[in-house]
């Protein structure tokens, strides 16, 4: 071995040691308590991720203003999962290595499915604010929690809503082949078939990322549906609304809870009027979240919180409560505290978890677009 390469080896060794030293920070030694927030900060879902991250910062800021948790400040550590399974796994590993005590975040279910086992192996709780695919808690071994609902329940709600409220006799269901969209679409179709009052005229996927969905829409229109339930994400929802209007199609477009981002409305313009979406209640329609909305706006140059901001805010607060009760930031004790948490009054309603980690009481509602804003659906 030459002296040059030996020197390099020493350098690399030193670097590795300093990395290990870094990763010790934030654990039991009385410094800041680090909470990982894995969300999409790049890609088509980036605006949703930024809203979620901003809400986490609002929650941590409030807790720190009150003196932190057991005298220690909360520190939000963001990581970009880009809504992709590969990058989500890397982001989760990065958070685990940097010494976070828990993760609270996530947007795309497909990304969360990849991140879940990595937090799980490190025995860290992972609280989801937006990822609704049933698999996440079903296979979470009690280490994955959520303040949002499950798609099997959303599917039930959507089926009941389009049949009972919209009086649809013929329903088309369109997804985009992602984990989330496919799961919700299948849940909705199952519920519609069980209910038996409406016929499912169409069940297929579009290819996300293409600009032209007019052939898909024309094809769907050929099956003469009263309602089309689109379970994909907001980027495509905006285009579908726009092109539905261009084609002059009269069916009612209903979206799932990933279509309620305001940037879909920017793409669709006036074509978004009358669009309906099934979702957990939005912060802007919840009286109990009024203070949160005010605080969020004042810290984010007047922008309204996104559809999942309030659920992330509650996730951080629930986590802080659990750390307080456990009197520790060790993973196993935090997990135990979260399961045993007495009902916590969040801005989105009471929160407690069942043995799987799902929120016990969470309901779905319908919202609609009027004058470029989402409001509660009332007929």
């Amino acid at each position: 071995m030459t002296s040059w390469s030996r020197r390099r080896l020493v350098c690399i060794g030193g670097l590795a040691l300093s990395l290990v030293a870094c990763s010790k920070k934030g654990g039991e030694d009385g410094g800041n308590i680090q909470i990982g927030v894995p969300v999409p900060l790049s890609g088509d879902s980036a605006s949703a991720g930024q809203d979620i991250l901003a809400a986490a910062k609002v929650a941590a800021g409030e807790i720190n203003d009150r003196g932190g948790v057991k005298g220690r400040k909360l520190e939000i550590v963001p990581a970009d999962d880009a809504c992709s399974p590969q990058q989500a796994a890397q982001a989760a590993q990065k958070l685990v290595n940097s010494g976070v005590v828990a993760a609270a975040g996530g947007y795309c279910s497909g990304a969360a499915v990849a991140a879940g086992p990595i937090f799980g192996r490190a025995n860290l709780p992972f609280i989801l604010d937006a990822s609704t695919n049933p698999v996440l808690t079903d296979q979470g071994q009690g280490k994955v929690f959520r303040t949002c609902g499950r798609d099997d329940r959303q599917g039930d709600f959507a089926a009941k809503f389009v049949v009972d409220t919209l009086h649809a006799k013929r329903v088309a269901v369109l997804h985009d082949n992602t984990t989330y969209a496919k799961g919700l679409a299948e849940a909705a179709v199952a519920a519609l078939k069980k209910n038996g009052q409406a016929e499912v005229t169409y069940f297929d996927a579009l290819t996300a990322g293409q600009s032209d969905y007019t052939p898909v829409l024309t094809n769907i229109a050929g099956t003469h549906p009263d309602v089309v339930y689109f379970t994909g994400y907001f980027a495509e929802a905006g285009l579908l609304l726009k092109q539905r209007k261009q084609l002059g199609l009269t069916f009612q477009l209903v979206g799932g809870d990933a279509t309620t981002d305001v940037s879909a409305l920017r793409t669709a313009g006036t074509a978004a009027e009358g669009f309906i979406a099934t979702t957990a209640p939005l912060a802007t329609t919840l009286p109990s979240a009024a203070d949160f909305v005010k605080r969020f706006k004042s810290e984010n140059t007047g922008t309204d919180p996104g559809p999942f901001s309030a659920y992330e805010y509650d996730a951080i607060n629930v986590l802080a409560k659990a750390i307080e009760r456990a009197g520790s930031t060790k993973g196993p004790e935090l997990l135990k505290a979260l399961h045993e948490l007495p009902e916590y009054q969040g801005v989105t309603g009471p929160i407690s978890f069942d043995e799987k980690g799902d929120r016990k009481t969470v309901n779905f509602v319908a919202v609609t677009v009027r004058d470029g804003k989402y409001i509660s659906y009332a007929h």
């Binding site: 980036a46 996927a205 293409q210 898909v216 285009l239 726009k242 002059g248 313009g269």
Partner: protein, 299 residues
């Protein structure tokens, strides 16, 4: 039947964008024997430039039409200058190097443009303001909007203009001469370097104009739009017989129609399979493309 006509109209709309972009691939191939992989990204940059102009002008009412034309013009100009810049900076030094170096340079420029815009936009999408009117020319069983007609018409106008330039002007004739035999063209006193610049400029201008029109029509663009659209336009250029302008335009429309019908009658998941299946099948029967270069002369 009405479904069929609707797919036809929508296919022609997509196809007219593809044709405009395919022309750029074919023109550059004509003079340099280079597949300019950065061409799709020139389209994308033009689209973002047009969005910038529209946002900056933020006009409404009757001024909207003015703003729309200003945006198309600006997007075309930005793309044109970018195309010439790419030519001078990345391709000109490699003209005497092996062809493979030129090709790798083109891929490099493509990735550089894409990644730059990806970083600037955080890979998110951007929405175009509502510029095109919703008014319908036909609103019966088949829907055709005025804006669709305007976009197809503008594309056709640009293509006819290009055709007139290539066949009716001295420069256009020189361009054809350069494509047919570069060495003989130089001996006849044709300034090859200058003509190559002009070719890049025109091809990129068409791509930039298509980019802005695409943005106005679909109202949503992102950094990857040049790759997705460019790949199809490139397919059209090859299908039409790369180097052949009429072939590129016709094949562009054809690919648009195939995409529309495949997504409509089968599923949008099958559209790409069928587009590239058509390409492979066509090349097996006619290896030089539908309007193969042996029959028609290249430009």
């Amino acid at each position: 039947m009405s479904d069929f006509l609707q797919y036809l109209v929508n296919g022609l709309t997509i196809g007219s964008f593809l044709a405009l972009i395919a022309l750029g691939y074919s023109m550059v191939y004509g003079v340099l024997r280079l597949i300019n992989f950065a061409h799709g990204d020139v389209f994308m940059v033009g689209s973002f430039a047009g969005l910038g102009v529209l946002t900056a002008l933020s006009m409404s009412g009757p001024w909207l039409a003015f703003a729309a034309f200003a945006a198309v013009f600006a997007g075309a100009l930005v793309s044109g200058v970018l195309g010439v810049g790419i030519m001078r900076a990345a391709y000109a030094p490699l003209l005497r190097a092996p062809k493979i170096s030129l090709l790798i340079a083109a891929i490099g420029v493509s990735l550089a443009l894409e990644e730059t815009v990806k970083l600037l936009t955080r890979a998110g999408f951007r929405s175009y303001p509502d510029v095109l009117p919703d008014a319908m020319l036909f609103s019966g069983a088949v829907r055709v909007s005025y804006s669709q007609v305007a976009l197809i018409g503008l594309s056709a106008l640009l293509m006819v203009g290009l055709w007139a330039f290539v066949t009716r002007t001295v420069r256009g004739t020189a361009m054809r001469a350069l494509a047919m035999d570069p060495d003989a063209a130089r001996l006849m006193g044709i300034d090859a370097e200058r003509l190559t610049m002009i070719t890049f400029f025109i091809g990129s201008v068409l791509a930039g104009a298509a980019g802005v029109m695409y943005g106005m029509y679909y109202t949503q663009i992102n950094f990857a739009v040049g790759f997705l659209v460019g790949l199809r336009a490139f397919t059209a250029a090859v299908l039409g017989g790369v180097g052949n302008l009429v072939g590129a335009a016709v094949a562009g429309l054809l690919i648009g129609l195939v995409q529309s019908f495949a997504a409509g009658y089968l599923s949008s998941r099958w559209a790409d399979v069928i587009i590239f299946g058509v390409l492979i099948a066509a090349l097996m029967v006619r290896p030089h493309g539908l309007f193969g270069e042996r029959i028609a002369e290249r430009v």
